[in-house]
């Protein structure tokens, strides 16, 4: 009985870019320090509609003397995120977390490559911050693709942390007009599997494309997956993803409890 449902108080809830909000939440000091890649289940206290909590990655975290601050970066895509976007300062939210397994960062190599698509930057931001602190000598390279310039969030901060930031957009409004997977593929020769750690998060199409790129080589790529969730704690079996088990057979694992971070090579796409 260590885990609690926290009541968070919204300190800020800003539209940082069109349809993209940054929510700053004050929460009790007992909130566990999250690992990069972990997430929270968030809901509006007392509301039955929307009914289920929504999973959102932890974008940033800091521990103060007698409280903690967490930031969530989220895109408005439907009812739940719409209602989140409408919450004003001082409103309360229910937070369950941190949940899931973060990225594996025990054995980070000399080169670290991040590949982000759109709002996929959210969990990667916390990871980049964390790795910068823990492995200051690693060479960090970020590939960040988005639909348009306005969907490139937190660039300043990211540029300070990474040696190299490659931006591309679907419409060419910032950086190269290209898909992030293509931009990375052009560069892949610069990296060697044995001294490169790769982390990716983004839409399914991006991850599928990455899967193809890495199917022909030895790179280890960790990706953070998304799936609709009910419990977030591993109980409902709702957030299944098809994974190859040790013998190569298909099993369904839970994004919330077995992930959300998986090795890309283990994932079986439909």
């Amino acid at each position: 009985m260590a885990k609690n449902i926290y009541i968070g108080k919204i300190l800020k809830n800003e539209e940082v870019q069109k349809d993209c909000f940054l929510m700053k939440i004050k929460i009790a000091v007992s909130f566990e320090t999250p690992l990069p890649g972990q997430f929270v289940m968030i809901r509006i206290a007392g509301l039955n509609d929307p009914f289920l909590s929504r999973p959102i990655s932890i974008y940033s975290f800091s521990r103060k003397n007698n409280f903690c601050l967490i930031e969530l970066l989220y895109r408005v895509v439907g009812k739940g995120t719409q209602i989140m976007a409408g919450l004003i300062e001082g409103s309360q939210v229910e937070i369950n977390g941190p949940l899931g397994n973060g990225f594996e960062i025990q054995s980070v190599k000399k080169n670290v490559v991040f590949i982000a698509g759109g709002i996929g930057i959210a969990p990667l931001s916390l990871l980049i911050e964390n790795l910068c602190r823990r492995f200051p000598s690693s060479l960090m390279t970020l590939y960040f693709g988005a639909q348009r310039a306005s969907a490139v969030i937190g660039l300043n901060k990211l540029q300070k942390m990474c040696r190299l930031v490659n931006i591309c957009t679907d419409d060419g409004s910032l950086g190269e007009k290209n898909l992030v997977t293509r931009v990375f593929q052009k560069d892949i020769k610069k990296f060697l599997p044995e001294d490169t750690s790769i982390y990716a998060c983004g839409p399914k199409e991006m991850l599928v494309a990455l899967g193809k790129i890495f199917s022909k080589n030895e790179f280890d790529c960790q990706v953070s997956l998304e799936e609709r969730m009910a419990c977030g704690t591993g109980a409902c079996m709702g957030c299944a993803v098809a994974i190859k088990d040790k013998k190569g057979a298909l099993v369904y694992q839970r994004v919330c409890a077995d992930g959300p971070v998986f090795y890309l090579r283990d994932i079986i796409w439909e």
Partner: protein, 308 residues
Amino acid sequence: MKLKTAPRMAVNLGRLKLKNPVMTASGTFGYGEEYADYVDLNKLGAVVVKGLSLKQRLGNPPPRIMETTGGMLNSVGLQNIGVDAFIEDKLPFLRKYDAAVIANVYGETYDEFKKVTKILSAAKGVHALEVNISCPNVKSGGVIFGSDPKIAARVTKTVKEETSLPVIVKLTPNVTDIVAIARAVEKAGADAISLINTLTGMSVDLKTRKPHLKNITGGLSGPAIKPVALRMVWEVVQMVSIPVIGIGGIMTAQDALEFLIVGAQAVQIGTANFVNPHATMEIIEGIQSYLAANKIKDINEIIGTFQP
């Protein structure tokens, strides 16, 4: 004006004694350990574990869940580790706690029901079996067994012959006449009846014109279905003499009390756990407070006190 002693919360489900009437519903509480960080398992009346089959089951392909107004659809399809792995890997953990362990039994055939029952009955620390003849998300067995009184009775008999544990039969609400099924399983020897399992439903993604669930249809649970569950419990308690366990959309102590007043001997909390992992604890405390506030010394004094 307070009672000198806390209200007594123990209830009997036939031979099965529970320290309070609040249990978890199968499939919504994993194998107990998933919620052990949130809930003091010692405080629960019983833990009903995820449906168990003879061999492990993969379950249905994703997406498996979708939110609806006041509820959710699921098409998990009884993904489970199989009865042997349950006994080896999960039961030892549950044995450490002071909550009755109820194994939810699933079979595609009478023979599978028989075998799973046999294995579970030999295991230490299983206090009762809940026979699932009501899962809407599997091709064989499941709800098909639960829609026909004769088949439901035969499954019940099959299980009863293999075990000396109390046998609870869990019914599906997707039937014309729930009382007929309930009476059939009572006659076949069921020690108690659980109702309801989920209502079958579906929803469509307008963008793709595909179902939100890969399995197309799924089971509807949550507060949306509570009125249907309560009605079925009431219909059944009037016509059987074995205890009935009320399930369906219970979110609060108030909801649980409605079921008890109508005549359920105990309740199970399902989808509420997802939305509020503390739900079971809050419901137990809430029932206690209600009893204390109404100066009722024993929970049995309110069970079945409905004034229609």
